[in-house]
């Protein structure tokens, strides 16, 4: 195997070894300071450096510790319910140019999304570091729910920061977190969404760093978070590569995933880094359209900047002030993106496009009605991308989609969008 060239590949690999790839086509492992090319790094108060160094050391030790890996593997199997299945979607595929559309069913994981993969890993690290309290930021609430779940499982104190705007549009997940024993703190600063929740979590962390681990929910933040969160989500790519090969006898032509911070996308993309024939396609939240300025597409419609401890693409104005993002999807409503995505975009290994609210909701409804699967609205952006890919590539193509989450939490938003409540009518064009 080519693993020796990839220091991050320390998890047991069972997938078929890939064919040789020109080195230039491969994303690199971050350098010693956590850079992916010119992106990533650490831009944080000095007070956090020791905690980041400690986390880095524990993470690297755990990566090569068979006991840690066995414990994580055990949890992923017996608690999360891995491996998640691969579902072939013939009726949905018929709408996607007849392509073979395969869904990687992260929505079937315990807690309803891919987020649990990362959270279990970081919760184990929290225990390993001797810390007793975890904090998290959450947008859609999926990461918050996953963190609250792991905290309950490990007996850790848990505080989740959530923008006030998001507590309103994701009320069901707020209740879930509270049922699980977590404290949910509505954040009223700034735009009252995910970015402000992340600011508040950082402030908590710098204040309570001795007792507390900050479980960042995406492949963003200061090093080692982007790399570490990717490693905990690699399982998605590893499993799905094997599953696609087993089912179809070949690799997919394209892999589609939604990108907010980008954790589910990195998880599935990373399984195919060494397969140059596989297109890696990320779909950002286009909101009302990138040209309207009301969107959350940091790569497609942003510029290089520093936010939340790292350099990446950011939505910002001429003075470097973060611009408020807009998306129907609370989980993608974030003005930044993980640094590895910035690197993949700049090197061309992955491509990124924006999907508007309207396109995403059309794809959302289509999956509901053709496959009997209600996806998360975040995931619907990837499904809209799969429709584009299938129509472009045609009936011989295999398109793998990361079905990153389920849509129970979005039923109210979708009902309002489509006018499904008693006595309501759908806005024109949405039925």
């Amino acid at each position: 195997m080519a693993d020796s060239a990839h220091p991050w590949k320390t998890l047991p690999m069972t997938a078929t070894p890939s064919t040789e790839t020109p080195a230039a086509a491969r994303p690199s492992s971050p350098d010693a300071s956590g850079h992916f090319g010119r992106f990533g790094g650490r831009f944080v108060p000095e007070a956090l450096i020791v905690a980041l160094d400690e986390l880095d050391a524990h993470f690297r030790a755990a990566q090569t510790d068979p006991a840690f890996q066995a414990e994580l593997e055990h949890l992923l199997t017996t608690y999360t319910g891995r491996p998640s299945p691969l579902t072939e979607c013939a009726r949905f595929g018929a709408e996607a140019g007849g392509a073979q559309v395969l869904l990687k069913r992260e929505d079937l994981n315990h807690t309803g999304s891919h987020k649990i993969n990362n959270v279990l890993g970081q919760a184990l690290l929290t225990v390993r570091m001797g810390k007793t309290r975890v904090i998290a930021e959450t947008g859609a609430g999926q990461h918050g729910v996953a963190t609250a779940t792991a905290a309950a499982l490990f007996g850790l104190e848990c505080v989740v920061y959530m923008g006030e705007e998001d507590t309103r549009r994701q009320a069901l997940n707020v209740a879930r977190m509270r049922l699980l024993g977590a404290e949910v703190v509505p954040v009223t600063a700034g735009s009252r969404t995910l970015k402000d929740a992340m600011n508040e979590a950082m402030r908590d962390w710098v204040t309570n760093v001795d007792s507390t681990h900050y479980i960042i929910g995406t492949v963003a933040g200061p090093a080692p978070f982007p790399e570490m969160v990717r490693e905990f989500h690699r399982v998605i790519g590893r499993e799905s590569r094997e599953q696609v090969l087993a089912l179809t006898g070949r690799l997919p032509d394209a892999v589609a995933a939604c990108v907010g911070g980008g954790s589910n996308a990195i998880g599935i993309f990373s399984g195919f880094y060494d397969d140059p024939s596989v297109r890696l396609c990320g779909y950002e939240a286009g909101g009302d359209g990138v040209d309207t300025g009301r969107h959350a597409a940091a790569i497609t419609g942003g510029s290089v900047g520093v936010l939340h401890g790292q350099r990446s693409f950011v939505l910002q104005d001429d003075d470097g002030q973060t611009v408020e993002s807009h998306s129907i999807s609370a989980g993608l409503d974030y003005p930044g993106v993980g640094p590895e995505h910035a690197f993949l975009a700049e090197t061309g290994r992955a491509t990124y496009e924006a999907v508007t609210d309207v396109e995403a909701m059309d794809a959302f409804r289509l999956l509901c009605r053709t496959e009997g699967i209600i996806p998360a609205i975040e995931t619907a952006h990837a499904l809209a991308g799969a429709l584009r890919l299938g129509r472009e590539l045609g009936p011989d193509a295999i398109v793998l989609v990361n079905c990153s989450g389920r849509g129970d939490k979005d039923v109210e938003t979708a009902s309002r969008w489509f006018g499904l409540m008693e006595g309501e009518r759908a806005p024109e064009g949405r039925v």
């Binding site: 831009f43 108060p45 450096i49 700034g190 402030r203 900047g305």
Partner: protein, 264 residues
């Protein structure tokens, strides 16, 4: 000899710590902030830090957040901050800008250093710029001839303090506690941090975070070369019924703190 050096030397000659005062530009207005800072200087602040309002101030507590939010809503720009620095520098007080890193990079690292120097500013405090990421800033600040102030924290290892001191000029900013601005009071970790920092640098060491009263200033002045006060000044402006009363309250606080750093 930088004027920061002069300011600390002058304080030392009087056998006291220097008083460093922070206020953000643009709050309550650009001119209002300049008025408040001038009054701060007239009442005994030796060195001025002008905050550059930023949308995501990770190191700041609710007081400074509220002020910079208001400043940004009022439309303050990086150019306004530089104009504020120019107006304040005319008072003769050594004037620094305290800023998160992204606005500097966006403005242009070299351009920011150059424009601040032309405005009469003498340095920049960068609370979220780590030494590992500071290469371009070290170069730009050297070229422009302005000081670059980095922070050490109670959690910093001795090796880490060496790294920070190795690239810092002007003075070393010792964060007195683990936390954000304006929430907790100066902690018992502060004297220990200053004691660990001193042998590692010839520069003055100033303590910030958690100092809001004359008594605290007097206490910190016993072991530090400088006492930095921010949120307490901002609070005077936030809580005053009118801008004029806010400016007056800033003046009163400055006078009290100036007495504090002179107390035996």
């Amino acid at each position: 000899m930088s004027s920061l050096h002069e300011a600390f030397a002058a304080a030392k000659a009087e056998d006291r710590a220097a008083l460093v005062g922070y206020l953000p530009a643009g709050f309550p207005t650009v001119d209002g902030a300049v008025d408040a800072i001038r009054v701060m200087v007239e009442n005994g602040v030796d060195i001025v830090e002008i905050g550059l309002p930023y949308s995501d101030p990770l190191m700041d507590g609710p007081t400074i957040q509220a002020a910079v939010d208001a400043a940004l809503r009022g439309g303050v720009t990086t150019k306004d901050v530089l104009a504020t620095a120019e107006a304040v520098a005319r008072t003769g007080a050594p004037t620094l800008v305290m800023t998160y890193w992204n606005p500097v990079e966006r403005y242009g690292t070299e351009r920011f250093a150059r424009d601040l120097a032309s405005a009469g500013g003498i340095g920049v405090i960068t609370p979220d710029l780590t030494p590992e990421e500071a290469g371009p800033w070290i170069e730009a600040s050297d070229v422009a001839g302005i000081d670059r102030v980095f922070l050490v924290a109670p959690s910093s290892s001795d090796e880490r303090i060496d790294v920070v001191c190795g690239i810092t000029t002007g003075f070393v900013y010792a964060a007195s506690l683990m936390g954000v601005t304006g929430v907790k009071s100066v902690s018992s970790a502060a004297p220990e941090l200053v004691a660990r920092t001193r042998p590692r640098t010839p520069l003055p060491v100033a303590v910030g975070l958690g100092v809001s009263t004359a008594d605290q200033a007097a206490d910190v002045a016993q072991y530090a070369d400088g006492v930095i006060v921010g949120s307490a000044f901002v609070k005077q402006l936030l809580e005053a019924p009118t801008p004029a009363e806010g400016v007056a309250a800033v003046g009163r606080l400055a006078a009290e703190l100036a007495e504090g750093v002179r107390r035996r």
